[in-house]
């Protein structure tokens, strides 16, 4: 179902380069460093709105760093960047990190519900600590977001249990619901299924497909099948450089770069 739809939606690279789509994030000549170490080397790309963009590449190629630059999380752990990132045309240098992160949410590799909070408090944490006090409103938003991630039926009777009591897959969906509550436009996902079993992974992938209608999703993944299944566009990173960026079908069937082809076919990485 997903794949069929994906094929019907295929657009050529030319269409893309002519900017027939709204660009939500535009990266220009981005360099990122950890101290002296260069993690990203001159990355330029544009992320189209309401699409899923997958970032693939071998370990240590800068995928996660790239993702973390987009919501200024890279600077949080002492990293530095050069170059420009535009979000809806605004240089993110000029956007306060707190505001930026409400617009560009993030889901992490390991499900990380807050261990000392109940399920319901986990979901609304982002709102609560941003000043929303109205209990009724919080509960309503929590229900909407839990329904969006398909967790409502599973947890509606146990909303006061610890978030950590859920299974790994449920925890990850809880974390996605938590991200949705602050109503972001973009959701960054850093290997969201790498700690999950195949069934939980399928659920998350279906969810990504659903969320695409309302959100722009950028997903880092080690799993190339996953990239092929869920994404519209794929970027291949290698050694901190962007080797190839084009629509997913092209990358996986007819990559223009030799390195991409070798990585896709499993010859290195």
């Amino acid at each position: 179902m997903i794949e069929q739809d994906l094929i019907s939606k295929v657009v050529s690279l030319e269409d893309y380069s002519q900017k027939k789509f709204d660009t939500i994030i535009k990266v220009e000549n981005l360099f990122a460093y950890f101290g002296e170490l260069k993690a990203l080397d001159n990355i330029s790309l544009s992320i189209p709105k309401n699409s899923v963009t997958a970032i693939i590449g071998p370990s240590g190629c800068g995928k996660s760093t790239f993702l973390r630059c987009l919501n200024k999380m890279h600077q949080e752990i002492g990293g530095t960047t050069e170059g420009k990132i535009y979000y809806n045309g605004i240089d993110i240098e000029n956007i306060d990190p707190v505001i930026l992160r409400r617009n560009i949410g993030m889901v992490f590799q390991k499900p990380n519900p807050f261990p000392t909070m109940s399920i319901i408090n986990n979901v609304v944490a982002g709102l609560k600590y941003n000043g929303v006090r109205d209990k009724k409103l919080l509960n309503e938003i929590a229900e909407i977001c839990l329904k969006k991630v398909g967790l409502w039926e599973e947890v509606k009777d146990n909303l006061n249990r610890s978030g950590a009591s859920l299974s790994g897959g449920q925890q990850q969906r809880l974390c996605i619901a938590r991200t949705l509550t602050v109503n972001p436009e973009v959701i960054l996902m850093d290997e969201p299924t790498s700690a999950l079993d195949p069934i939980a992974t399928t659920k998350i992938e279906d969810l990504i497909y659903e969320l695409k209608k309302d959100y722009t999703i950028i997903i880092v993944t080690h799993n190339m099948q996953q990239a092929a299944r869920v994404s519209d566009y794929t970027a291949f990173f290698y050694m901190g450089r962007l080797i190839e960026f084009s629509d997913t079908k092209k990358i996986f069937t007819n990559p223009s770069n030799k390195q991409t082809e070798e990585y896709i076919s499993g010859r290195f990485g």
Binding site: I77, G105, P115
Partner: protein
């Protein structure tokens, strides 16, 4: 082949012996570690129980020569002193710990950490002298406040370092989850990280308060002691530990007995307090996943 199996079996027996030996050695060490505690309990209970009656908690000390009486003023005095110490020391210690853990990647923090460690090694009597200079001399008389300041100085390093260590133990992913939701950094530190680390910090607080309740030396020339009822923090105040010190040295049999009872009461108080504190601060959910 036979040879190999034999060799393997011998090895296995040797391994099991080693395991048995180490396990028992650690068990015996654990036993030895609690022996002093058992002795303390045994002596204080056996010697102190005879004078432990309701009077001890509600009556005032009797004048020299008269037997009986209690230490109501000292019990209240210890509570006030520890309360004052906590009121001053805990917020400073916790905030300093948060600073060191969350923002402490600079030279100043390194220096601060080092000085906190030095402070925790300073003898308590020296801390008493400092409080004497800082509070008693300017005020021109001994006071409960001076005692509280001395106890606070003793609490700060313990609380600071436990808070820092416990916050550092909180996985970075929780901090990032908070920041990723667009929660401001200070709110993430307070409402998410601190909350996750709270159980460990509570243990540190407990330790600091218990230790403060048992301090004598820094109180000798700050809170001084008082044979009369007083809850005024600007006046000298009685405390159980100073009473133990005075009564144990006194040449009266009855006073020596009362010193044992005071020691028993102090230990009971600290134990009860520990249990109550643990129940109160018990988290609804498990902190460790």
């Amino acid at each position: 082949m036979e040879e190999n199996i034999k060799k393997y079996k011998r090895k296995l027996i040797f391994r099991k012996l080693k395991s048995f030996f180490i396990m028992n050695l650690s068990f015996i060490s654990a036993l030895i570690a609690i022996v002093p505690l058992a002795f303390i309990f045994y002596y204080t209970v056996s010697k102190g129980i005879s004078h432990l009656n309701i009077d001890f908690f509600i009556a005032m000390p009797k004048p020299v020569g008269e037997s009986g009486g209690g230490m109501a003023n000292a019990i209240v005095g210890t509570l006030i002193l520890v309360g004052l110490g906590g009121l001053i020391g805990l917020p400073i210690g916790i905030m300093a710990g948060i600073y060191l853990a969350e923002f402490g990647n600079n030279k100043f923090a390194f220096l601060l950490r080092f000085m906190t460690d030095v402070l925790s090694g300073v003898p308590s009597i020296v801390v008493g002298v400092v409080a004497y200079t800082l509070v008693v001399i300017p005020m021109k008389h001994f006071s409960a406040l001076a005692g509280g300041v001395a106890l606070a100085i003793l609490m700060i390093p313990t609380v600071t370092r436990t808070t820092e260590e416990m916050i550092r133990l909180v996985p970075h992913s929780y901090r990032e989850a908070g920041l990723g939701l667009g929660i401001p950094k200070w709110k993430t530190s307070f409402f998410i990280v601190l909350r996750t680390a709270w159980k460990g910090i509570a243990t540190g607080i407990l330790l600091a308060l218990s230790r403060a309740a048992g301090e004598t030396a820094p109180l000798l020339f700050t809170a001084l002691g008082n044979r009369f009822w007083s809850t005024d923090i600007f006046q000298p105040i009685a405390s159980l530990t100073v009473y133990i010190y005075d009564y144990a040295r006194a040449p009266f049999e009855d006073w020596n007995q009362q010193a044992w009872t005071a020691a028993l009461v102090l230990i009971l108080f600290i134990s009860l307090f520990s249990i109550a504190f643990r129940i109160i601060t018990k988290s609804k959910y498990k902190t460790n996943q």
